[in-house]
């Protein structure tokens, strides 16, 4: 029974998209069924329900790291740092939220005065311009002064500061570690043990050098060495070879893979929708995390 409900949930999730594909949103039937409106509501609902799952992340964090601190497990200090950061950033966000709300209110409050002022400034005729500026009321002038003074004054933005100087560089650096790993992995693992490995290495070398300015520089140097005319086509042209490798050789292979993947995706999708994929619709034991 539970397995059947899970399978029905899969079918329910897929049903709109399959009906929409089969009927077509812009056809007479699709329009009478209101498929476009349903899509509109469905997408919004999906976005909201998916976002609700973010709360699980917070709960898990509090569970795992809270327990580590309470039980003084190894590394509890780092869990404490994590909580301090969490609440600090939360504080930053509240701070900046209030700042932004005040800015929005100021913008809305001064909108009419700014529009009149900017329209006056846009006037090409100096006489007309002066008249339009003179027509501004003292209240308008005060609002304008308030708006422009605010925008010329320095305001510390804690969320932006955190974004620019903490989370962005940290996340970038974590991903940058992969640059070290791929260099070492290539050095250790790329051994020319067979014809296939050699061909792959040559293709990779052409791509790495040719897709880089150094490939153009090397090609020019080779051609000078070989006495080729620099104004005519080069004999050695790594950028063109890399371009060819990408557009023709790799692209052809990728298209072959894409066709295979498309067939496999449709077959696997049908199996899931027909309830033949037991791994997906079976009920997990109570101790297992989803």
């Amino acid at each position: 029974m539970r397995a059947r409900m899970i399978w029905l949930a899969v079918v329910l999730g897929a049903s709109y998209f399959i009906i929409s594909f089969a009927v077509g949103e812009d056809t007479a039937v699709g329009q009478s069924l209101g498929l476009a409106s349903i899509r509109n509501v469905l997408n919004r609902a999906m976005s909201i329900v998916l976002t609700m799952a973010l709360a699980i992340g917070v709960i898990n964090l509090f569970q795992a790291h809270g327990a580590t601190i309470l039980r003084r497990r190894r590394g509890w200090g780092f869990s404490l740092v994590l909580f301090v950061t969490f609440f600090s950033v939360l504080g930053f966000m509240v701070w900046e939220y209030r700042l932004e709300r005040a800015e929005r209110r100021l913008a809305e409050r001064t909108q009419a005065a700014r529009a009149a002022y900017e329209a006056a400034l846009c006037s090409a005729d100096p006489h007309e311009r002066q008249q339009a500026l003179a027509a501004l009321t003292p209240a308008d002038r005060a609002l304008l002064h308030e708006y422009y003074t605010y925008h010329q004054t320095y305001h510390f933005r804690p969320r932006t500061f955190y974004l620019q100087y903490f989370i962005n560089p940290l996340a970038q650096t974590v991903m940058a570690l992969l640059g070290f790993y791929i260099t070492y992995a290539a050095y250790r693992a790329f051994r020319l043990r067979s014809l296939e490995a050699t061909v792959m290495m040559l293709s990779a070398a052409v791509m790495i050098l040719g897709s880089d300015p150094v490939g153009g520089w090397l090609s020019a140097a080779f051609n000078r060495l070989l006495g080729a005319d620099p104004t005519a086509d080069w004999w050695v042209n790594l950028p063109a070879w890399a371009d060819f490798d990408n557009r023709v050789m790799m692209s052809g292979m990728q298209r072959g893979l894409a066709i295979g993947i498309a067939v496999a995706t449709i077959a696997a999708g049908l199996r899931i929708l027909l309830g033949l994929e037991k791994g997906i619709i079976q009920v997990r034991p109570s101790g297992e995390q989803t």
């Binding site: 539970r2 079918v11 999730g13 897929a14 594909f21 476009a36 899509r39 919004r44 609902a45 999906m46 976005s47 709960i59 964090l61 740092v81 994590l82 600090s88 950033v89 966000m93 900017e118 304008l144 925008h151 004054t153 320095y154 932006t160 955190y162 974004l163 903490f166 989370i167 962005n168 940290l170 970038q172 940058a176 570690l177 640059g179 070290f180 260099t183 070492y184 050095y187 061909v199 293709s203 052409v206 791509m207 880089d212 150094v214 153009g216 371009d243 490798d245 990408n246 023709v248 050789m249 692209s251 052809g252 072959g256 894409a258 295979g260 993947i261 449709i266 997906i280 997990r284 297992e288």
Partner: protein, 633 residues
């Protein structure tokens, strides 16, 4: 010799890392530049944007810019975003920002990059003596903010066909997007007929989803992706078939685009040179490793006994001794604190701060100037007074004292921030020595901060959007019909049954619904993607048969012939249900394997581009921005 070869084939990873850092750093000290050669598909991308800008009908339409990238891939996506935005701004095309990733960091990172792109265009106009350009929010561009569409395919049609109904409120002012009166630009964006192109600058392949789900129905739609190299490898066939109009592959794609956009600066910069140097080092290391391997292999095959003993391969590298780790950490703390103290002391002494040196009209083009200069309030004030225009501030309203104070405080903020970045960057890099406390400390900062930051999305999408709709349903009699949105509480509550031992299966229900929603569009998408691919493959192979435009181009036909051969051999290789016994059959399979290896080699090359593009900017920051300012430019 054999011992040396064996050692060279088994270098300690930390030695390789050190050499890599040294090589990546060198181009910031030894300045040179190389010409850039744009790839065919980068030219296509650039030319298409130019065509839109030059076509009086198309330029009045709106471009949808889907920016799904964040700090992780900013090494590639940030320069791509920068050049594309600068192109749109320069040609004064109208565009709308859309983000479909729920983490607000993604949205905010792109918006910071957009402000920088605007500033660069203003700076360039100033340098070229052109009028200072201004762009008005709501008239020239709009920010629709973000929604939660982590699985893109179910949302793809809605995002392109009716984004206003999906995003509902603009990000900056929170105005109703379904009302044309909210912003002048909205009256230009009523249906897909008002869209000239969809540009996806992202870490994923959203462009492929749009091509499969929307372009099959609306063939006029132009889709242009800019992605990291690892994703770009999948997208090349779709550019060939015309489903995508061009492609910016990795940071190199951005550099190539820049060379087209700014023809007066067609050569490389130190960051691009660092990337080149890193890639060259990688190839050199592979070469060294292979030569060493070939020399030492015979000796390794023969037993380790005999006159020449070859050192056995080390299986696992030993961690650094504790005293060395503590020593290195102490050295780092000492050096870092010393640097901070030195910078603070200098500031206290002269009240001046380092900043990027702007190009000046009287600069000698044959001279290389320092990247940074130290400025005080007096210089900032003089500069502000000399500026004819300041974007967003009319001359009559200008308060020079306030602007000077703001500029000076922004410099202080940036310098303090740079010290934080340097600390965090070195903290993460500490992991290269092995797991250690310094790294775990920075890891805890990342996790806690990222989670807190993601709660902005919860506040925006659940509390403001969903809660706001329900609140309006209760308070406004005309909105009573909206109360049915309360029903979303039931599927939303199902997520939390993951904490119940007894009812955990209920959590599987909601997971299953989203699995179905991800699966549903796949049928249409795959069919919409594959049919144009097959049709593109079935083209005349004769070199002198004309191309679709009527042009005879034997070279293009030859390329297509090779392409079809590669495609055929790849497909045959995947036919598993027979095993050829003839020599021809085996030969075909071997050829299939070889062409696939060529393709995989190219994919590996693109992966290297990606990984090193993520690393080089971090080294650039440490050398150029942090140490460069410390050393006085």
């Amino acid at each position: 010799m054999i011992r040396l070869a064996a050692r060279l084939a088994n270098l300690d990873r930390r030695v390789v890392y050190l050499v890599l850092v040294a090589v990546l750093s060198a181009p910031f000290f030894v300045l040179y530049s190389l010409p850039i050669y744009p790839e065919t598909y980068v030219r296509h991308f650039y030319d298409t944007i130019e065509q839109i800008a030059n076509d009086p009908v198309q330029r009045e339409k709106v471009i949808l810019v889907i920016h799904n990238w964040g700090p992780g891939t900013s090494g590639e996506n940030a320069p791509q975003f920068d050049v594309i935005m600068r192109h749109l701004l320069r040609r004064r095309l109208k565009f709308v920002f859309l983000c479909t990733l729920v983490d607000p960091v993604y949205h905010d990172t792109a918006m910071v990059a957009f402000e920088q792109a605007k500033a660069r265009e203003i700076e360039l106009a100033r340098k070229r003596g052109q009028p200072i350009p201004t762009w008005v929010y709501g008239e020239d561009y709009l920010d629709f903010g973000y929604i939660n569409a982590q699985v893109f395919a179910p949302f793809a049609r809605q995002i392109v066909l009716a984004p206003r109904a999906l995003y509902r409120r603009d990000f900056v002012y929170g105005r109703d997007l379904t009302d044309d009166a909210s912003f002048p630009l909205l009256s230009r964006l009523r249906s897909i007929r008002d869209v000239s192109a969809v540009l996806t600058i992202s870490a994923g392949d959203e462009s492929r989803d749009i091509a499969g789900l929307v372009k099959s129905e609306y063939p006029h739609l132009l889709i242009g992706p800019a992605t990291p190299g690892i994703v770009a490898t999948d997208l090349y066939p779709y550019v060939k078939s015309g489903q995508l109009f061009g492609l910016l592959n990795s940071a190199r794609g951005a550099s190539e685009y820049r060379s087209l956009l700014d023809p007066d600066e067609p050569s490389t910069r130190p960051l691009e040179n660092a990337l080149s140097a890193g890639k060259t080092l990688l190839l050199a290391l592979v070469l060294i490793g292979n030569v060493a391997y070939l020399i030492s292999r015979p000796a390794q095959r023969a037993a380790t006994s005999g006159p020449t003993r070859v050192p056995a391969q080390r299986q696992a590298l030993p961690p650094l001794p504790r005293w060395l780790m503590y020593g290195l950490f102490g050295l780092f703390v000492g050096a870092f604190s010393g640097a901070a103290a030195w910078d603070a002391w200098r500031f206290a002494a002269d009240q001046r701060l380092p900043r990027l040196r702007p190009a000046r009209p009287d600069d000698d083009p044959n001279r290389t100037y320092a990247r940074y200069e130290r400025v005080g309030r007096a210089e900032l004030r003089a500069q502000i007074e000399a500026q004819a225009e300041i974007a967003g501030i009319p001359p009559e309203m200008r308060d020079v004292a306030a602007l000077t104070d703001r500029a000076f405080k922004e410099l202080i903020e940036a310098r303090v921030g740079e010290f934080f970045i340097a600390f965090c960057t070195l903290g993460v890099f500490a992991f290269l020595l092995g797991d250690n406390r310094f790294y775990r400390f920075t890891e805890a900062i990342i996790m806690g901060g990222a989670l807190a930051y993601s709660l902005i999305a919860f506040q925006r999408l659940v509390i403001e959007d969903w809660g706001g709709t329900i609140y309006a349903g209760f308070t406004d009699p005309q909105q009573r019909g909206q109360l049915w949105w309360l029903l979303l509480a039931f599927p939303g509550a199902l997520w939390f049954f993951t904490y119940s031992r007894r009812y955990r299966w209920l959590n599987q229900l909601i997971v299953a619904v989203f699995l179905g929603a991800a699966l549903g569009p796949e049928f249409q998408k795959q069919i919409g993607l594959v049919i144009p691919q097959v049709l593109d493959s079935i083209q005349p192979l004769w070199p002198w048969s004309p191309l679709p435009g009527g042009v005879v181009d034997p070279w293009a036909r030859f390329e297509h012939l090779v392409f079809v051969l590669v495609l055929g051999l790849s497909l045959i290789y995947f036919v598993f249900f027979f095993r050829p016994k003839s020599r021809v059959g085996s030969g075909v399979l071997s050829a299939g394997r070889l062409v696939m290896m060529i393709g995989f080699g190219a994919s590996f090359g693109n992966t290297v581009n990606t990984r090193l593009s993520w690393l080089a900017p971090r080294i650039a920051f440490l050398i150029e921005d942090w140490f460069g300012k410390l050393a006085g430019g």
